[in-house]
C-alpha cells in the first residue's frame, strides 16, 4: 500500500533525535500551557509561532502540534485536581474527575483521563492516516464553487451544532469575516475598511486576535475569582497506573462509543466541546452505573476525555486535507503552515508528501510521548498551579505581549492585543463564542476568494452553487446542518413538555 510506505517514511522523518527532542519540548510546553490559566492551546501555539519561522517546517510543525497534544493532556490535570477546566472541552471531565479527587482517587482519575485521551487521540490519528489521503484525493476535483460550499458547510455546522446562542455564533462569525476583510484586498488590490490608517493596512493578524481573545481575556476572567487556587494533591505511581489500566478493559464499549462520537464530531468543526458533552451524556445513558455519574464514576472521566481528544485530533483532518481547520488551535496551526509557504489542502498531499507523513507519524509518537511524560510528571505540573497567581499572571501577560510584538515587530499590535483582550472578556461573559470568530478570520479571505471566483466563472449567477451533483450535495448538507440546531431544539422542547426530566445530551441545546 502506497500510503503505508509513506507513513513508514514519515516515521523515519519524525524519529530523528532532533525531532524527538522538539516533540518532548513541545509536549512539556503544551502541558504547562494547558495547566496555566490564561494560556490555552490556541494562544500557546500562537505565541510560539513567530519563534519557529526560522526553523525547518517539519520540525516546526512537530513542535507546535506537540504543544497541542500537551495542552490537551494538561487540561485534564486542572479539571481533576482543581475543578478548573483548562479548556472548554475539559468541562465535562470535571463532573466526575473532581469528585474522584475529593474521594482521594485523584491518581486513578488522572491515569484514566490521560489514557482515555491517548486512546481518543490515537483513534483520531488512525482516522487521519486512512481517511485524509482519500479526502485530499477527492478534493483535487474541487473548483472554487465546491470549495466555497465546503467553507459554507464548515460555518453552517458551527451555527447548527454550536451550544451557544445561535445569533451570537453568527455575529461572531461575521466579526471574523469582517476583520479578515480589513486591509489589502487580494483580488482587486484595493484597500478596504482602513479609513486612512496606515496601521490597519496590514489588516488584523489572527495571531494577535488569538492572543488577545484567548490569552489576555482568560487572565481577566481568572482573576475575577481571586488569585488563589485550591487543589487536591496527586502522585501517580506505577502500581496505580497498572491497576487502572487493568480496570479500563471493562469499559471498552464506552471508550469505543466515545471515540466514534469524537471522530465524527471532530471532522465537522466546532466539535470537540460538543463531543465531550455528547460522550458524557451517552455514557451516562448506556452505563450500568449511570446513576453514579457526577459522584466520581471513572466512566464519567473516560467518556468525555476520549471523545474530546478524538475530536481535537480529528479536527486536524479537514485542516490537512481541505485546508479547513476544525478547531481554533487547528486554525492557528493552519496559519503557521501558510507562513512557511505550505498551502494546506489537497495539493499538500501531492507536493509535500514528506511533510504531511512526517506530521502524521509525529502525531502517533507525540501522543505516546505525551502520555508517558504526563504520567511521570503530574506532581510537577500540579505544583505550577500552587505558585501564587500574582507571580504567574504578569509573566503570562508579558509573554503574551512579546508574542504579539514578534509577529510583525509592531507596538501597535500590543495595543490591539489589549483591546481584543477586553473584547474577549466581555464576549465571554456575554456568551459570545470566540472560536467561530478565529475560524472566520483565518478562512475569511479564502472563503471570499472562492466565492468571488465562483461567481466570476458563472457570470454572477448563484446557480453555480447547484450546478453539479457534488456542489449541490455539499450545499444541501450545509443547509441541513444549519437547520439541525433549531430543529433539535424544537424536538427537545416538545419532548420536554411531555417529560419532566430532559436527558443532558438534549438539554445541552
Amino acid at each position: 500500500m502506497d500510503d503505508l510506505a509513506s507513513l513508514i517514511a514519515g516515521f523515519q522523518v519524525a524519529l530523528s533525535w532532533h525531532n524527538i527532542g522538539f516533540m518532548a519540548v513541545g509536549v512539556i510546553l503544551g502541558i504547562i500551557v494547558g495547566v496555566l490559566p490564561g494560556l490555552g492551546g490556541p494562544n500557546g501555539v500562537a505565541i510560539l509561532l513567530p519563534l519557529t519561522f526560522g526553523m525547518d517546517p517539519t520540525s516546526a510543525i512537530i513542535l507546535l502540534s506537540s504543544i497541542y497534544w500537551g495542552a490537551l493532556f494538561g487540561g485534564a490535570i486542572t479539571s481533576i485536581l482543581f475543578n478548573i477546566p483548562g479548556e472548554a472541552w475539559s468541562v465535562a471531565t470535571t463532573f466526575d474527575g473532581y469528585p474522584m479527587a475529593v474521594q482521594g482517587k485523584a491518581a486513578e482519575a488522572l491515569t484514566a483521563a490521560f489514557t482515555a485521551s491517548f486512546i481518543g487521540a490515537l483513534s483520531g490519528v488512525v482516522l487521519i492516516t486512512f481517511v485524509a489521503p482519500l479526502v485530499a484525493q477527492f478534493a483535487l476535483k474541487f473548483g472554487p464553487a465546491e470549495f466555497f460550499a465546503v467553507f459554507l458547510l464548515t460555518f453552517c455546522s458551527f451555527i447548527g451544532m454550536g451550544r451557544e446562542n445561535r445569533a451570537k455564533i453568527i455575529a461572531s462569525l461575521c466579526i471574523g469575516f469582517l476583520l479578515a476583510a480589513v486591509g489589502l484586498d487580494s483580488i482587486s488590490g484595493d484597500l478596504r475598511m482602513t479609513f486612512g490608517s496606515t496601521e490597519l493596512m496590514r489588516g488584523f493578524d489572527f495571531l494577535i486576535v488569538v492572543i488577545g481573545l484567548f490569552g489576555v481575556s482568560e487572565i481577566l476572567l481568572t482573576v475575577e475569582e481571586g488569585l488563589v487556587f485550591k487543589g487536591k494533591q496527586a502522585r501517580i505511581d506505577l502500581m496505580v497506573v497498572l491497576r487502572t489500566w487493568a480496570g479500563l478493559l471493562r469499559y471498552w464499549a464506552t471508550l469505543l462509543r466515545s471515540a466514534v462520537v469524537g471522530m465524527w464530531m471532530g471532522v465537522t468543526p466546532g466539535g470537540a466541546i460538543a463531543a465531550s458533552f455528547m460522550g458524557y451524556g451517552l455514557a451516562k445513558r448506556f452505563s450500568k452505573h449511570g446513576k453514579n455519574f457526577g459522584k466520581g464514576e471513572i466512566e464519567g472521566v473516560l467518556a468525555p476525555e476520549t471523545a474530546a481528544h478524538a475530536a481535537g485530533t480529528s479536527a486536524l483532518l479537514p485542516m490537512l486535507a481541505l485546508g479547513i481547520p476544525g478547531s481554533a488551535t487547528a486554525a492557528v496551526l493552519l496559519g503557521g503552515l501558510l507562513v512557511w509557504g505550505l498551502q494546506p489542502g489537497p495539493m499538500l498531499f501531492v507536493e509535500q508528501k514528506e511533510f504531511v507523513w512526517g506530521l502524521i507519524a509525529s502525531m502517533y509518537l507525540g501522543n505516546l510521548a505525551g502520555l508517558i511524560i504526563v504520567l511521570a510528571t503530574v506532581p510537577l505540573f500540579a505544583a505550577i498551579m500552587r505558585i501564587p497567581f500574582s507571580f504567574v499572571a504578569p509573566v503570562i501577560l508579558i509573554v503574551c505581549a512579546i508574542g504579539a510584538y514578534t509577529i510583525s515587530n509592531s507596538i501597535f499590535d500590543i495595543w490591539l492585543m489589549l483591546i481584543f483582550g477586553v473584547v474577549g472578556y466581555v464576549f465571554k461573559k456575554l456568551d459570545y463564542p470566540l472560536a467561530p470568530m478565529i475560524l472566520a478570520l483565518v478562512l475569511g479571505d479564502r472563503a471570499e476568494d472562492a466565492f468571488r471566483q465562483a461567481l466570476l466563472g458563472s457570470g454572477g449567477s448563484l446557480g453555480i452553487f447547484w450546478a453539479n451533483g457534488l456542489v449541490t450535495t455539499l450545499v444541501v448538507l450545509a443547509l441541513l446542518l444549519l437547520c439541525w440546531g433549531p430543529a433539535s431544539d424544537a424536538i427537545a422542547a416538545l419532548r420536554g413538555r411531555g417529560r419532566s426530566d430532559i436527558e443532558p445530551a438534549e438539554a445541552a441545546r
Binding site: 451570537k168 475598511m193 504578569p394 500590543i414 468571488r452
Partner: protein, 166 residues
C-alpha cells in the same frame, strides 16, 4: 468608578442587560461602518464582484444577527454581568497592564516589564517586597536572555538597554 464597601453582599454588581444592549448597539454601529465603507466603494457587479461585494453581504447578515441579539437581550431575564468585587479584581490587573503597554514605547519592553511586575504585585499586595523585587529583576533578565540572546528576536528596547550597549 464607584467602590463599594466590603460588607456588601457579593451579588451587587453591574447588571447584564445594559451590557448586552450596549454590545449589540456597538455591533450595529460596526455594521454601519462596514456597510458605509463597502457600499461606498461599490458592492455591486462591475464585470465581476466589486471589492465591497462580500463584506457588504456579510454586513447585512451581521445586521440581522445583531438586531436579533438586541431584541433577545431586552426579553431575557436580567442577571449580574460582573459584581463590583470581581470588577475591582479585573481593574487591578487591567490598570497595570495598560500602564505596561503604554511604557513599552518609551522605556523598552524589559524595563516596562519590571515596572509592570512591581505595579501589579504592589496593587495585588499579597507578596513581600523582596520577592516582588526579585521577580521584577529576574523575569526581564530571563526574557532578555531567551529572546535577545538565544532566539535573536529583536524586542523594543529603550534608553537603559542603549546605555548597556545593546
Amino acid at each position: 468608578m464607584s467602590s463599594p464597601s466590603e460588607t456588601e453582599t457579593p451579588e451587587r454588581g453591574i447588571s447584564r442587560r445594559p451590557v448586552e444592549i450596549a454590545t449589540a448597539l456597538l455591533l450595529i454601529g460596526l455594521v454601519g461602518i462596514v456597510l458605509y465603507d463597502s457600499h461606498g466603494r461599490g458592492a455591486g457587479w462591475d464585470g465581476g464582484p466589486q471589492n465591497g461585494f462580500f463584506p457588504a453581504r456579510v454586513g447585512w447578515i451581521f445586521l440581522a444577527a445583531s438586531l436579533f441579539i438586541l431584541w433577545q437581550s431586552c426579553r431575557r431575564p436580567d442577571g449580574v454581568f460582573v459584581t463590583y468585587e470581581q470588577l475591582r479584581q479585573v481593574i487591578r490587573v487591567l490598570g497595570p497592564l495598560i500602564l505596561f503597554v503604554a511604557l513599552i514605547q518609551p522605556l523598552g519592553i524589559y524595563v516596562a516589564s519590571a515596572v509592570f511586575i512591581i505595579a501589579f504585585m504592589a496593587v495585588v499586595g499579597t507578596s513581600r517586597w523582596w520577592s516582588i523585587g526579585l521577580t521584577a529583576l529576574l523575569v526581564p533578565v530571563v526574557c532578555f536572555w531567551v529572546f535577545e540572546l538565544q532566539f535573536r528576536v529583536p524586542l523594543p528596547k529603550g534608553p537603559l538597554e542603549a546605555a548597556l550597549g545593546y
